[in-house]
Every structure is written in structure tokens, then in C-alpha cells.
């Protein structure tokens, strides 16, 4: 690869980065007790990123013609209007290998299929979809500043979707388990299947929530998605540079209840694990909010260079063909000192909302919306009837001071985050949290 770096430098590049990615995945999906698809996928991708006359260009292809990619990346850079100087370019070297108890490659597909078919026998509802996938990846990154990294990764995914039906009413519930671990992830599979079936069946009997402003307790998953959507995105430095975040000019200022601390942590083995980011910088823990005070933004190499700070190991891209931008890794609310039972007792008339069906945020003005999968009414400090999926909406800077109680039962879950047309795997989590008042969507 040195000859291509030399070639790019001869063409006037101040920085050259060459990446290669080899991915092999196996997947099995079941519809009830029938195998719907058994498939295997192999792909190679190569990319070259250059800084040419202070302009950034990227080219990628399945073909390993690196010289052509250098030429294409330079041609791309020449189109730009804006110039940039890159600082703190990584010179990190090393090999990272995912640790696992059971190598998915050591179990043949036949056995994996049998495992899934056995799980399908648990079916007690209208329909059950199960998907298993394991992926192995060899990722190489080198740059002209001496960075030379290799990541031998393994990840395993299990997805269960349950459909319950009663007369013409159909309800669904699902759960996705994904982590950088081996086949041992499937130890959780039976519980996951039972849980989604129970949730889907219970939803058939659940009532519609009444809309309005109420105190709300969010469980670990909903709290996690809240902290990802409402706080994490607003801390991404590209949003700050675009003047597109409610946290602009708020560093070292009180933005939340003093009980609240939020971190982004790429070092935890989770769906958001980033041993090194796509700029070649080491993943790390970054405290975003410390006791209510905004303490940090999340940076890629590009945003850190513009803002003249150190990168935080948050430069990520969906794949080698995509631009590296600031993204979260594992983002979570730190444990507090309350108990879940105490929180319930605090609420006279409100909701306990569980699980997440996704969310969206407008970082400019801080408007957000999150959907829970289901919940319970709370009356007089006691949990009452189940309610169907309801949404929670509000303004970030209004709601952060209203998170008044935080439990000490933090759990991380896996998710997928979309931004600028790119999807990356992330983790998010939280202990149970009590929000004094939030707008809940339901019947008027």
C-alpha cells in the first residue's frame, strides 16, 4: 500500500487514507416453523480518502484498483469549494480481535437452523418471525501519517417479531439483540421469543392512552432512546458547526437537572463498540452531561480539526463508501440513587412507558418525538391497566430539567441510528427515569 500512498503524495495530497473491508455473513429467517430464507453474503469494499490542496475527496469500489481510486478521490476533492486543515491525524497501530465464547463459524448452519426451528415450536400466537445472522469482518485502515489498524470482528444478531391476532385486531411486538460477541448471544433467544409473544398478546387487550401532559416514568430502553435522540444528536459536533443544535454555546452551562449525567462510551462491548473509529482514532468514554452541566461534544477528525480540539473517537461511516461524520457509540444516562418502586409511588396520575419504537429529533429547536411500544397507567402511586403504544413529545431544553428521579438499574440495549442517509449500529441505555411532566400522545 505504501506505493499508493507515495503515488497520492506525488499528486499533491497532504493526507491519504486507504481502507479495505471484507465481510462475510450468514443468515437464516423463519416464518413460523418454515425456513423462509437461508443465505450467505460476501462483499469486499475498498476506499481512498484524500486531502488534496486542503480539499477532501473520497472514492470507493468493490474492485481493488487503488491507483484508480486515488485518481477518483483527487478528482472529487477538486470539485469542493471549502478548504480544511486536518490536525490530530491518527498514527495509531494495532490489531483488535473481537472476543467470543463460541465462534459462530464453528457451528454449522444446520445446527443454527435446528436451534431456530426449536425456538419456533414455542409459538402460541398467529405468527412468529425469527431471524439469525452472524457476520465476520476484516477491516483494514492505513494512512499517510503511519496509522495501521486491523479489526477482526464478529457480530451476532437475533431478531424476533410476534404477531398476535384476535378477530380483526392484529398487534405486533419485536426485539433485536445484536452484539460484538459469538454464538453465545443465542442463549438469550428463548426468553426473547417468550417476551415478544407475551407483549403482542397483551397488546390485544390494551387500551388507548389518553393524550395530554402527564408525569412519565420511562424504562431503560425508552430512557436510552430518549438520551440518544434528545441529547446525543444535539452533542454531535457537525450539528454545532452547522449552528443546528440546541447545545450551541452551551458548553459548561447547566442544561439539565443536576441529578443527570450522560455519557457516550465506545469502549463497552456492546452494539456501539468502536475499538477505533473510521478516522483511526481510539474509541473512548466522553462525558456529555455531568450533573446537569454540558461538558463535551462528539467529534470526528474533520469536525475536531475545524473546531481545533482533539477528536473523541466518534468519526463513523455506514461503510467505506460513506463520509465519516460524528456519530454516537453507546450512549447512556448514568445511574442515579432512586428506586423504581419509589418513582411509581411519586406519581398520582401518569404513565409508565416501556420499550421503544424509534424516535426523531429536530436538533435546531430541540423538538423531539419518541414512541414507546406499550405502557401502563399509574394512578395513586400504583401501576394500573396496560396501554397501547404511545408517543412522548416535547422540547429538549424544557424536558431535561424535568428528569427529577433517576434509578440505579442502568441497562444497555442495541439499536440502529440513521443520520445523513447513513445507518450505524449503536447502543443506548438508561436506568428508569421519572419526568415530572411530558406531552403524551393518545386519544384527545
Amino acid at each position: 500500500m505504501d506505493k499508493f500512498i507515495k503515488y497520492a503524495e506525488e499528486q499533491g495530497c497532504e493526507f491519504v487514507e486507504i481502507k479495505g473491508d471484507k465481510i462475510l455473513s450468514n443468515s437464516i429467517s423463519l416464518e413460523n416453523n418454515e425456513v423462509k430464507e437461508l443465505a450467505t453474503k460476501q462483499s469486499n469494499l475498498f476506499s481512498v480518502r484524500v486531502l488534496h490542496q486542503h480539499k477532501l475527496g473520497l472514492a470507493s469500489s468493490n474492485k481493488s484498483d487503488i491507483k484508480l481510486l486515488v485518481d477518483q478521490a483527487i478528482a472529487c476533492a477538486k470539485v469542493n469549494d471549502q478548504v480544511i486543515d486536518l490536525s490530530y491525524i491518527s498514527d495509531l497501530k494495532g490489531v483488535v480481535t473481537t472476543k467470543f465464547k463460541i465462534n459462530p463459524r464453528s457451528i454449522d448452519l444446520e445446527e443454527k437452523k435446528k436451534k431456530l426451528l426449536n425456538l419456533a415450536k414455542l409459538k402460541k400466537i398467529q405468527s412468529l418471525n425469527l431471524t439469525y445472522r452472524d457476520t465476520s469482518r476484516e477491516y483494514n485502515l492505513i494512512n499517510s501519517f503511519g496509522c495501521d489498524l486491523k479489526f477482526n470482528d464478529v457480530s451476532t444478531t437475533f431478531i424476533a417479531i410476534a404477531f398476535a391476532k384476535k378477530n380483526n385486531l392484529i398487534e405486533q411486538a419485536w426485539k433485536i439483540e445484536r452484539n460484538h460477541i459469538g454464538y453465545e448471544l443465542m442463549e438469550k433467544a428463548e426468553n426473547v421469543v417468550k417476551k415478544v409473544m407475551t407483549t403482542a398478546s397483551s397488546l390485544l387487550e390494551a387500551k388507548q392512552a389518553k393524550g395530554g401532559n402527564f408525569p412519565v416514568i420511562a424504562d431503560q430502553k425508552l430512557g436510552g432512546v430518549f438520551c440518544h435522540e434528545a441529547v446525543g444528536h444535539a452533542c454531535e459536533a457537525d450539528a454545532i458547526l452547522q449552528k443546528n443544535s440546541v447545545f450551541q454555546n452551551k458548553l459548561n452551562k447547566m442544561v439539565a437537572n443536576e441529578k443527570l449525567s450522560i455519557s457516550d462510551n465506545g469502549t463497552i462491548i456492546s452494539n456501539g463498540w468502536v475499538p477505533f473509529d473510521d478516522d483511526g482514532n481510539r474509541g473512548r468514554k466522553t462525558l456529555l452531561i455531568k450533573k446537569g452541566i454540558l461538558t463535551n461534544y462528539l467529534h470526528s477528525l474533520e469536525t475536531a480539526s475545524i473546531m481545533k480540539v482533539q477528536p473523541t473517537g466518534n468519526g463513523r461511516a455506514q461503510d467505506l463508501s460513506s463520509r465519516v461524520i460524528p456519530r454516537m457509540t453507546a450512549t447512556y444516562i448514568e445511574n442515579g440513587d432512586s428506586k423504581f418502586e419509589e418513582m411509581i409511588q411519586e406519581v398520582k396520575n401518569g404513565y409508565y412507558l416501556k420499550n421503544s419504537a424509534g424516535g426523531q429529533v429536530n436538533p435546531t429547536n430541540g423538538e423531539f418525538l419518541f414512541n414507546s411500544v406499550y405502557g401502563y397507567k399509574i394512578e395513586g402511586g400504583e401501576l394500573k391497566e396496560m396501554v397501547k403504544k404511545v408517543s412522548l413529545t416535547g422540547i429538549i431544553l424544557d424536558i431535561l430539567p424535568k428528569i427529577c428521579l433517576i434509578a440505579k438499574d442502568l441497562k444497555l440495549g442495541s439499536g440502529s441510528c440513521g443520520k445523513s442517509g447513513q445507518l450505524v449500529p449503536v447502543a443506548d441505555g438508561s436506568p428508569h427515569i421519572l419526568i415530572e411532566s411530558a406531552k403524551v400522545g393518545g386519544a384527545a
Binding site: 443465505a39 477532501l56 472514492a59 443546528n244 424516535g359 418525538l369 408517543s391 445523513s420
Partner: protein, 422 residues
């Protein structure tokens, strides 16, 4: 090379299907200060499905040259699979294929310099662009199978997504087209962003909601695909499980029209090589047709022709170009006594496509009283069930709008929907 793959697959298995796709995309990121990142992507995928001793196997690789590996892996997978008694055959050639008109000359002629000029023209407009991306790309498909299908086509597209900011308000817009995107479209978006000043809260009520063309398209897209999918009909997961049954308001007619000329999803054949047809999905509130691939089509004695593929995946059932038939009245705001006009919703992707219950925040909406727009809305949600909403349509506008995905949709007025405000 495709002939070589055909010969190799033929020597190894009973029947096969070869799908090859090549994408070339040039992407430009820009903001109010100019273009800041340019990217070129060339990618391809070869997916081979084989049928051997009544078992199906699917494998994919990234380039044509790895075809032997791909066939061998697909065979290995098939051997692991259990017998599929439901599988009849890969898609059979259709009796005839309609030639479709797709005029991409204007877009194909567009040079890098023209794109730079267009982007600079956008930047010149007097508005804060926080983030924007322009893409120009082409896709080439080859579909060949042992039943005699041998089809090839290419298509071109360009897309623009942009986030505009005016004071504390920002709105995101996007459009796809086979013709070069025009600056006029961006100017309309700028006007909409500027119109969001002086937002006010309203009290909760149940009333009329007028949905803009884009919002209505967004709302129905996923639930309609889910509930009309032949696969979900087969597994009894759909709420629309009976044809010729009145399920929605009589005013509603929805058509899937892949043969409509010059649209983003215009195509003569689908991703299995089956001829596409224009069909009524809903006619005057009555379910008329479902969407099929060859597998579930064979099982329910229907024709396929409604699939899409990204490359390495199996064919996925989906909607192509969609048309909702227009109504009679021109200005629906005048018809409203008290209600809201919704032009953008937050979190539509979080809507439960199975139950079709929704509870969504209004991003861009206006309070309407006595036939007049009063002010933009702040902190407002709408909630209900899409199926009930489609039964409560009171008016459909005379004018339709191309919503940027090749969909032609009028404005839709519905009654009795929960608006959650203060």
C-alpha cells in the same frame, strides 16, 4: 460474462436465477458556504438463487468474476435447506412486456460543472442551509433465469435533500427525479420555511385535518405496502385480507402504476423479470389487488411483478409509482370550519404498520378557522388510526402534486381526528 454464469449454473443445478446490479453514484455535500465533500461510489452485487432437489439456496458476492464461488455457496445453502413444497418455479417470462418511456437524456447529459452551477444557485438563495446533499446516479440490472427470463435495463436518477433554517425553525426536504431537479422546487421549500414564524399553541380538540400531498403519501406508504403484500395475505397478517370488500371511504382510489412514463419507479419488468402492470389497489374504497412476487403469486394463483431488490437480498414486495385519484374541489381550506393543515410530521417511520395506530408530532402545521389559515402551530400532536382515518375522508382536492418520489397525490381532508395541544 452472464452467459458464462448461465452455463455454469445450468451444469450444476435444476434451476437458477441470476441477478446482477451495478450502481454508480456521485455525491456532493454542501452548505451555505459551498461544496465541502465530494464522493464517488461504484458498487456491484451478484445474487444467485438455485433450486436443487426441491430446495432453495441464495448466495451473493460483490463482482461477476466470483460467480463460481457464488453458485457453489448457493448449492451448499440449498442442501442445508429443507424441501420447499410450496416453491413451483422461478419467475416465468411474461407473455408480453410493455415498452416504457423513460427519458433520462437530460440527466445523463448533466456534467459535473452543471451540478456545481446548480448547487451554487441554491446557495445563492437567501436562506440558511445547514446541511444538504445532491446525488446523481445510475443503476444497471440484469435478470436471467432457467425459465427463460433474460432482461436488462438501466435507469438514472438525481436526488436532493436539504435542511433549511430560518430563525429557530428548520425543515428538511427531499426529492428524487429522473429529470434534473429545478431551482424552483428549492424556492418553494424556502418559502415554506420562512412561513413558520410566530408559531402558537392550540388547545386539544377533535376535528378536521387537511393532509398535504407529501404527508399523506408518507403516512400510507408503509402500512399500505404491509397490508397489500401477498406474503402478509398468505400468512394472514394483513388487515385487508379480503378482495372486493369496501374498507375505506368511497372517495379513495389508489393505483400502482409502474408503466406511467418518466417517473422514478417506471419500469417494464420487476426485479424477478416479470412484466409490470398498472393496477388498482383501492378503487372507490374497495380493495382490488394485492402486490406479489412470483413465490406468493404462485401460491395464490396471482401474477407477480411487484418486487424490488437492493442487490444481495431476495426480491422484496413493494409499491412503485403511486397515483391517488383527484377529487372535485380546488381549495379544501375553504371547506374547513375548525381544523389544522399538516404539511410535515415528525416520526412517521415510528408508526406501527400493523395496527396503523399513529401518534405523531406536527413539524409544519397551521391552524385553520372559518376557511382561513390563522397561524403556524407549536407543540402539537395528532393521534388516531390510519384505517379509521381512511374511512373518514370527507374531501379530496382536484389538484394532485408529484411528491418527489414519482407519486402523484392530492390533498386529503379527514374528519374527527385527535389534535393534542396545550
Amino acid at each position: 460474462m452472464i452467459n458464462e454464469i448461465k452455463a455454469y449454473a445450468k451444469s450444476k443445478v435444476d434451476s437458477y436465477e441470476i441477478f446482477f446490479i451495478e450502481n454508480n453514484i456521485n455525491s456532493y455535500d454542501f452548505n451555505k458556504d459551498g461544496i465541502n465533500f465530494t464522493n464517488t461510489k461504484n458498487s456491484s452485487a451478484l445474487a444467485i438463487r438455485v433450486f436443487l432437489n426441491n430446495r432453495i439456496g441464495l448466495a451473493s458476492v460483490d463482482t461477476l468474476s466470483k460467480y463460481k464461488d457464488c453458485v457453489e455457496t448457493a448449492i451448499k445453502i440449498a442442501k442445508l435447506n429443507k424441501k420447499d413444497e410450496k416453491f413451483k418455479s422461478f419467475a416465468k417470462p411474461s407473455e408480453s412486456y410493455k415498452k416504457v418511456q423513460v427519458n433520462t437524456k437530460e440527466l445523463d447529459d448533466l456534467q459535473k460543472e452543471d451540478i456545481q452551477k446548480f448547487i451554487r444557485e441554491i446557495i445563492k438563495q437567501d436562506i440558511g442551509i445547514t446541511e444538504a446533499n445532491y446525488l446523481k446516479g445510475s443503476i444497471k440490472r440484469n435478470i436471467v433465469n432457467s425459465e427463460g427470463i433474460d432482461k436488462e435495463d438501466t435507469s438514472s436518477f438525481n436526488s436532493l435533500s436539504i435542511e433549511l433554517k430560518d430563525w429557530e425553525n428548520s425543515l428538511s426536504f427531499s426529492t428524487n427525479n429522473i429529470f434534473p431537479i429545478k431551482i424552483k422546487e428549492v424556492q418553494e421549500w424556502i418559502e415554506r420555511t420562512k412561513n413558520l414564524k410566530r408559531k402558537k399553541e392550540i388547545k386539544s380538540f377533535k376535528g378536521d385535518i387537511l393532509f398535504s400531498e407529501e404527508v399523506f403519501g408518507d403516512l400510507i406508504s408503509a402500512p399500505l405496502t404491509f397490508n397489500l403484500s401477498g406474503e402478509n395475505i398468505f400468512y394472514k397478517k394483513s388487515k385487508l385480507n379480503q378482495l372486493d370488500k369496501e374498507v375505506f371511504s368511497k372517495k379513495l382510489t389508489i393505483r400502482d402504476v409502474p408503466l406511467e412514463p418518466n417517473k422514478i419507479s417506471t419500469r417494464s419488468f420487476d426485479s424477478e423479470g416479470i412484466a409490470c402492470k398498472n393496477i388498482n389497489l383501492i378503487k372507490n374504497g374497495v380493495t382490488k389487488n394485492y402486490l406479489f412476487d412470483s413465490y406468493y403469486g404462485n401460491l395464490l394463483n396471482k401474477e407477480g411483478g411487484n418486487t424490488f431488490r437492493t442487490g444481495s437480498s431476495s426480491p422484496i414486495i413493494g409499491l412503485s409509482n403511486l397515483i391517488i385519484e383527484p377529487g372535485i374541489k380546488k381549495d379544501l381550506i375553504k371547506e374547513m370550519d375548525k381544523g389544522i393543515f399538516v404539511r410535515s410530521l415528525m416520526g412517521v417511520h415510528t408508526m406501527d404498520q400493523v395496527t396503523s395506530n399513529f401518534s405523531l408530532a406536527v413539524y409544519e402545521g397551521f391552524y385553520i378557522e372559518k376557511g382561513e389559515i390563522k397561524y403556524p402551530l407549536k407543540d402539537c400532536m395528532i393521534a388516531g388510526n390510519l384505517f379509521e382515518l381512511l374511512n373518514n375522508i370527507t374531501e379530496i382536492s382536484k389538484d394532485q402534486k408529484d411528491t418527489g418520489d414519482g407519486w402523484l397525490i392530492p390533498k386529503i381532508l379527514c374528519k374527527g381526528i385527535s389534535v393534542i395541544g396545550e
